[in-house]
């Protein structure tokens, strides 16, 4: 099946929850809605499912207008952040429930439930009740129930948000395999850029109800067309440097001077925003062309194998992503290094004008 949204808007009171969304999702694809809380991920999913009707615009399935059709009549399944299972049914009965509602013959149910249980590694748990399972297994059960009816459209609304991070890692790893086994359209909402990158597929970053770009996940990440896409797609926050180009100099106030290398000399004099990923800001000099800037350390977050050093540069908040563990004292002043070849440059309308050299080659 193919799902198409045409100029879809959803207005509640005077506020647009969704504004002019155009998307075409093909069968067998994984599509990620990426954005912070309240960016419209859930609203958009509800429109796709038919739980809500758009204020204007059309929803098409295989080219046919289904805008007014209620959710019961569509071939849709949904998985939520909370693990929603029938508490008084066994795992087997939970997975079988959508088939029973559809009056599927008994032997077919048994076969399909077994297939799902194998795919989601629930085989040994089939006779237990959901309360006896770990959070990860409960969410697997909910997912199996969604997948078993073979719905053409499966919506997953932050399905991993309530799990411990190790369980999250495990399930995230399995998802692409599970998705590939079914051939439905998957729509997956998440707030975490790293999750989007790990899952692959296509990504639609969302900002205040608008889709800012749509395409293959890694391409959207590497070539964000506008600043907001780049910001949504960066965790920790993207480092931003507002500069003014005038008479062959590029300056941020009087603090940072950016040498005009690569494509920078070709830009007309104007205000620009330079952005670069935290892993391209370093506490060690890697090349002679690196720009050195003095910064004050706000906090160092350590994830186990990497350190996120939050620094303050003349009122700008930057993050350095450093490999290994660096315990730098808070309030210490350190030198950080910027590599101009990794700069994304956005014009004053926040549209991309310069892509880093490494990305343009690729």
């Amino acid at each position: 099946m193919q799902l198409q949204l045409e100029n879809v808007c959803k207005k509640v009171g005077k506020d647009f929850h969704i504004r002019d969304v155009n998307l075409t999702l093909e069968a067998g694809t994984l599509n990620i809605l990426l954005g912070p809380t309240l960016s419209g991920k859930t609203s958009l999913m509800r429109l796709m499912a038919g739980l809500d009707q758009p204020t204007s615009g059309r929803v098409l399935v295989n080219g046919e207008d289904v805008t007014g059709v209620p959710v019961q009549k569509r071939n849709v399944a949904m998985v939520y952040q909370q693990f929603i299972n029938y508490p008084n049914l066994t795992v087997y009965e939970n997975i079988a429930s959508p088939l029973r509602i559809a009056k599927t013959p008994k032997d077919v149910i048994a076969k399909k439930v077994q297939e799902m249980a194998d795919l989601l590694k629930l085989g040994p748990m089939l006779k237990r009740s959901p309360q006896e399972l770990s959070g990860g297994q409960q969410q697997r059960t909910a997912l199996a129930r969604a997948l078993v009816k073979g719905a053409g459209l499966v919506l997953l609304d932050e399905p991993l948000a309530n799990l411990d991070y190790k369980l999250r890692e495990e399930l995230r790893e399995e998802f692409p395999r599970i998705f590939a086994a079914t051939g439905s359209i998957f729509v997956y909402a998440t707030t975490e850029p790293s999750e989007a990158l790990l899952l692959g597929g296509n990504t639609a970053p969302l900002h205040e109800g608008t889709v800012t770009q749509f395409g293959e996940t890694i391409k959207v990440f590497r070539r964000p067309q506008n600043l907001i896409t780049a910001q949504i797609f960066s965790d920790p926050p993207l480092n931003v440097l507002p500069v003014t180009k005038l008479n062959n100099t590029m300056l941020f106030k009087s603090h940072v001077e950016v040498p005009l290398v690569g494509k920078l000399p070709e830009l007309p004099d104007a205000d620009y925003t330079i952005a670069f990923q935290p892993n391209n800001l370093s506490i060690i000099r890697k090349a002679d062309s690196d720009i050195s800037v003095k910064a004050k350390v706000a906090v160092t977050e350590i994830t186990g194998s990497e350190s996120y050093i939050h620094v303050d540069v003349a009122g700008l908040r930057w993050v350095v992503l450093a490999h290994g563990i660096h315990n730098i004292d808070i309030d210490a002043t350190i030198e950080v290094f910027l590599d101009p070849s990794t700069f994304y440059v956005f014009d004053k309308n926040h549209n991309l004008v310069v892509t880093p050299a490494s990305v343009s080659e690729a």
């Binding site: 890694i218 965790d235 990923q277 906090v299 290994g324």
Partner: protein, 361 residues
């Protein structure tokens, strides 16, 4: 303020028992220095909340003692222990203003208005609450509410320790690092002993000078973030810390070499032959690299390449042993062969899941 000592603490929810399986907390000994920042890290069900409740006085341990300095407080109530606690969900007094909330602990202790006011104002400034002092606390966002509950602990300058029970659970991801940074500043400024319970490695490692990792009711390692990363004392620590965790594969030991799936790996130092058959080799994905096939290294098949932006995670297979490799850039594709290189300084050997060093055993 006080040193906190746990002496042979063990706890079973069903009471004293001969069966070690009944104990949610197996026997543990631990000392926390006055003014330190500590974290209790572990997955759900590892006993960390039980331990926290024992420290705060909600639970009396089945066995053992807990000492503040040299005073036995095992049977003292929470109030008598003079500690503060910040909970998972912000606990605030809804009907009071921010000011009244912060002043509440002092008011209850009969302090004069003259003494309370400047202290509350100074603290509110430190916490960034000075602009909302006279609004009702109920209307604030979760992060500000959590600051209020923290403030109620900090306002009493005499507390022995401040306990945190997963305090950032309900905070927006974007706000978390700001609160972490503020917490570190406050710790530096006040010098209270702080104990932070969490299942999130980033939170524990960011906050603490020393992290206590718990697993199945036992303490498996106490160490600095560096130690937990470089030299995990238990395979669980290796797996739990780091994303992805440590690669842990079964091996055989022969003096200076480890045999993994018939391939030998030089260990740099020699190990005594182990008493158990359960021997494993652990190495971090960050300490592995991949060479083109034919070059020096273990012959591996590439199972999967994940590009997560800042680096790539390559999953390789040596026979049926799987390794994750983290590389900044990699040309190889799924299905290719490659040579896996590991440096002997970063290889850890585990016998019965516990780390052993060369020359011992």
């Amino acid at each position: 303020m006080a040193n906190i000592t746990l002496k042979e603490i063990a706890h079973s929810y069903t009471g004293e028992s001969e069966n070690p399986d009944d104990f949610a907390l197996k026997r543990l000994d631990l000392t926390w220095r006055d003014g330190g920042a500590y974290a209790l890290l572990g997955p759900s069900g590892c006993g960390k909340t039980t331990l926290l409740n024992i420290i705060s006085g909600l639970l009396i341990p089945t066995r053992g003692q807990i000492l503040f300095n040299d005073q036995d407080v095992t049977r003292l109530s929470t109030e008598q222990r003079n500690i503060a606690q910040i909970f998972q969900f912000p606990v605030i007094y809804d009907t009071m203003t921010v000011f009244e909330n912060l002043a509440f602990p002092l008011k209850n202790r009969g302090r004069s208005k003259k003494e309370i006011e400047p202290r509350v104002i100074a603290l509110a400034q430190m916490l960034g609450l000075e602009n909302s002092l006279h609004t009702k606390a109920q209307h604030l966002t979760a992060d500000l509410k959590q600051k209020i509950s923290l403030g109620r602990g900090l306002i009493r300058q005499s507390v022995n320790a401040i306990l945190f029970d997963e305090p950032l659970t309900v905070i927006d991801p974007q706000m978390k690092w700001e609160l972490r940074s503020q917490l570190k500043h406050l710790h530096k400024k006040f010098g209270f002993t702080m104990i932070y319970v969490t299942h999130d490695q980033t939170e524990a490692l960011t906050f603490a000078d020393e992290v206590v990792v718990m697993y199945e009711g036992k303490i498996v390692q106490v160490g600095t973030p560096e130690e937990l990363f470089e030299k995990p004392a238990h395979t669980f620590v290796g797996y739990f810390i780091g994303s992805p965790g440590m690669n842990i594969v079964p091996c055989e030991l022969q003096g200076r070499t480890a045999l993994v799936k018939g391939q030998s790996i030089d260990l740099g130092t020699s190990y005594a032959s182990p008493t158990s058959k359960n021997v494993k080799l652990g190495v971090r994905p960050e300490h592995l690299s991949l060479n083109p096939p034919g070059e020096e290294g273990l012959p591996v098949r590439i199972v999967k390449v994940d590009d997560i932006g800042r680096h790539k995670i390559v999953k390789v297979a040596l026979d049926d042993a799987i390794f994750n490799v983290i590389m900044p850039e990699v040309a190889a594709m799924t299905g290719d062969m490659g040579s896996l290189v590991m440096s002997s300084d970063h290889v850890n050997i585990y016998v019965d899941e516990n780390r052993v060093t060369g020359g011992t055993l």
